[in-house]
């Protein structure tokens, strides 16, 4: 097997960006993707067909009071989870990086907002984000958005009235979806098929933006390649490659100077734990610890006005972050949350209006579906999940078809995070009442996004990697993706994943000889 400069495990948001940047700098890169090949022309507009994009690899065991919803939140195949992400791209706030210092809670990040700000700015220019930085009054410092804001359709106008009546503010939702043609990608048609994958490339999925750049540089993507082990030299302090198995079960060795794990927050620690007795790069004992998932506070309602709920983006149209900064000043609980207002909704699937009120059946359901098709409204709070060490990924006693132990996840929300979610739900109902909803109700807690499990930090005692995702114990082994987050904040993670990955890629290139020595 020919040695390559860099192996990247996973072709999602972090993997594709890393591959593009390293290959553009002249590095030979191979991506090993556990799932099948996905092409833009495979992205059928259907909530039923969309399920094909979700996790379909080795089963994942989940327990705890608030399971993290691995299948719904993870991807499988080219583009990974970001292929079906909704492209809501707000920034973390200044205080998200210093929760321990400011509130004596959780942990601090090893970097400040100012360290990551230039990378947020670079990414938004490269990829394109539609938004209005002046209307988004909560936004931390940063360059103006390069694209005008997304349009507001009837649903968001109706719901925004409720915010206004209660003295709360709204702004356009920052979306990595083109409001006009940008970077060779077309403007969105606002048809709400984001969850099924966007074949037009208006939404900045890996297939739309960074993977084509990587492929242009001859990055080799091998699909159906399930990495089973990271290989090290005899000292155990240097990664030398990986073992992977293809669809037929053949065991293949790929050698490399640098190994980058970008297989999301569950499979990265699973791979580390399976690669050495006690886990590779696990001097801290924290590989797998601090798994987090935002709690979605779901609010639904029916309005007399036409809401056209089929129009817009799946992530929503408007934003409110009045309950974000000053994490200790919430009515209930502790932390931050944001409202994503007026998601485009289909009739079916977990987030469809048909599933919003499961107590309805028979003729009442028929009546509801007819009304909801034109008068439904919804919004979702993305609620911070405080890191809890006991929320972890461990290896199961059960194994996959290759004989590798399955990932076993435990997740029970911190009591203050759960209280925060309850407070958000209640606030949402008050807003819908103020907006004039004739009926209003909440959904159950929905897990949204997966973070942690290989957190970054200052030392090998309190974290798995440094701020660049470089493992404390192994200089040429990196981790990329939301698994690095020491805290979750209350915003969608994909923009921050891009910013952190860009920062890491520059570090790797600037320190190449030191990294591989």
């Amino acid at each position: 097997m020919k040695k390559t400069d860099v192996i990247i495990v996973g072709s999602g948001a972090a993997g594709s960006l890393m591959a593009a940047k390293l290959s553009e700098a002249g590095k030979k890169v191979t991506i090993l993707e556990a799932g099948p090949e996905r092409r833009l022309e495979d992205l059928t507009s259907s909530q039923i067909h969309a399920r094909r994009l979700k996790w379909g690899g080795a089963p994942v065991e989940e327990n705890g009071r608030q399971p993290i919803g691995n299948v719904f939140n993870s991807g499988y195949g080219t583009g990974g989870s970001a292929l079906h992400h909704y492209a809501v791209w707000p920034r973390l706030h200044v205080e998200d990086f210093k929760v321990k210092s400011l509130y004596n809670r959780a942990v601090d990040w090893p970097i400040d907002y100012d360290d990551i700000r230039p990378f947020y700015d670079k990414i938004q220019q490269e990829v394109g984000i539609s938004g209005d930085h002046t209307a988004e009054i909560w936004r931390p410092k940063g360059d103006p958005y390069p694209l005008p804001p997304v349009p507001a359709f009837q649903q968001s106008e109706v719901i925004a009235r409720g915010f206004a009546k209660l003295g709360k503010r709204t702004s356009p939702l920052p979306l990595a979806i083109n409001s006009r043609d940008y970077q060779g990608r077309p403007a969105c048609l606002w048809d709400g098929w984001c969850d099924a994958g966007c074949p037009t490339r208006a939404l900045a999925s890996p297939l739309a933006h960074y993977l084509p750049k990587a492929i242009k540089q001859d990055v080799n993507i091998i699909h159906n390649a399930a990495v089973t082990r990271i290989l090290t030299d005899k000292s155990g302090k240097k990664a030398i490659g990986v073992h992977y198995q293809n669809k037929d079960g053949a065991k293949i060795t790929q050698m490399a100077d640098v190994v980058i794990l970008a297989a999301y927050a569950i499979q990265n620690p699973r791979l580390l734990l399976n690669s050495a007795e006690g886990g590779l790069a696990n001097r801290s004992g924290l590989v797998g610890a601090y798994i987090m998932s935002h709690a979605a506070a779901l609010v639904y309602g029916l309005f007399d006005q036409e809401t056209a709920p089929y129009m817009g983006a799946t992530g929503g149209q408007m934003l409110n972050q009045d309950s974000y900064d000053h994490k200790d000043q919430r009515t209930k609980g502790f932390g931050s949350y944001q409202w994503m207002i007026a998601q485009a909704v289909k009739p079916n699937d977990l987030l469809g209006y048909g599933g919003s009120n499961p107590g309805l059946y028979g003729a009442k359901l028929t009546e509801f579906m007819a009304r909801a098709a034109h008068h439904f409204g919804t919004m979702t709070a993305c609620v911070e999940d405080l890191p809890v060490k006991e929320n972890h990924v461990k290896l199961s006693s059960d194994r996959d078809k290759f004989g590798i132990p399955l990932a076993h996840i435990h997740h029970t929300s911190h009591a203050d995070s759960h209280a925060l979610w309850q407070g958000a739900k209640q606030e949402g109902i008050e807003i819908f009442k103020a907006a004039g909803a004739t009926e209003f109700w909440n959904g159950p807690l929905g897990p949204m996004h997966i973070m942690g499990g290989t957190i970054m930090g200052d030392t090998a005692e309190n974290s798995v990697t440094n701020s660049y995702g470089q493992c404390h114990d192994i200089d040429n082994l990196f981790i990329a993706g939301p698994g690095l987050f020491p805290t979750s904040g209350g915003v969608n993670p994909t923009y921050t994943v891009h910013a952190l990955t860009l920062r890491s890629s520059e570090y790797i290139l600037n320190n190449w000889s030191g990294v591989i020595s």
């Binding site: 059928t44 259907s46 909530q47 979700k54 709400g192 699937d349 499961p358």
Partner: protein, 157 residues
């Protein structure tokens, strides 16, 4: 279209119950949808059960629950599910969405809890009754497909 995973008795029970929960499910092909997915390779399975921390194969989930459904109905009403009046099947559904009805096995070969089966079957039925291009038309909402599905639930060949 012949069934590959379900027998006729199971299909009849599935059609009957799903149509009572989501009117129109039977004529929309609910039993064919489920039968097709149960016959597909695990990684191509498109049932909503994928999202609910259940790992395929899913056949036993449905067949054991259908058996429990018939057993519980017979215990409560002393007749076949197909002979229930509209009021009786509605009453039974209102029970099964909240708890296991009497007679729903809780030891031995345990079917899924009745409320979970209700939620899953309801979601499946909404998929085929409301989640297709033709159903969007009938609800007078635009489908706006970028790439239209060649079949409501079968993968393109």
């Amino acid at each position: 279209m012949p069934f590959r995973s379900l027998n006729q008795k199971q299909v009849s029970a599935l059609d009957f119950l799903s149509d009572a929960i989501v009117p129109g499910a039977k004529s929309s092909g609910l039993s064919h949808f489920i039968d097709h997915q149960l016959s597909a390779p695990n990684e191509d399975n498109l049932l909503i059960l994928r999202y609910l921390r259940m790992n395929p194969p899913f056949k036993n989930f449905y067949t054991s629950a259908l058996k429990a459904f018939e057993r519980s109905v017979r215990l409560k009403y002393n007749k076949s599910p197909f002979d229930l009046s509209e009021a009786e099947i509605s009453e039974f559904i209102s029970i099964m969405m909240q708890k296991n009805p009497a007679g729903w096995p809780e030891t031995g070969q345990v079917p899924p809890p009745a409320p979970l089966f209700y939620f899953v079957l309801r979601s499946d039925a909404i998929d085929v009754t409301y989640g297709t291009m033709s159903s969007f038309d009938s609800m007078d909402i635009p489908y706006m497909a970028h790439i239209a599905p060649s079949h409501p639930w079968k993968a393109p060949s």
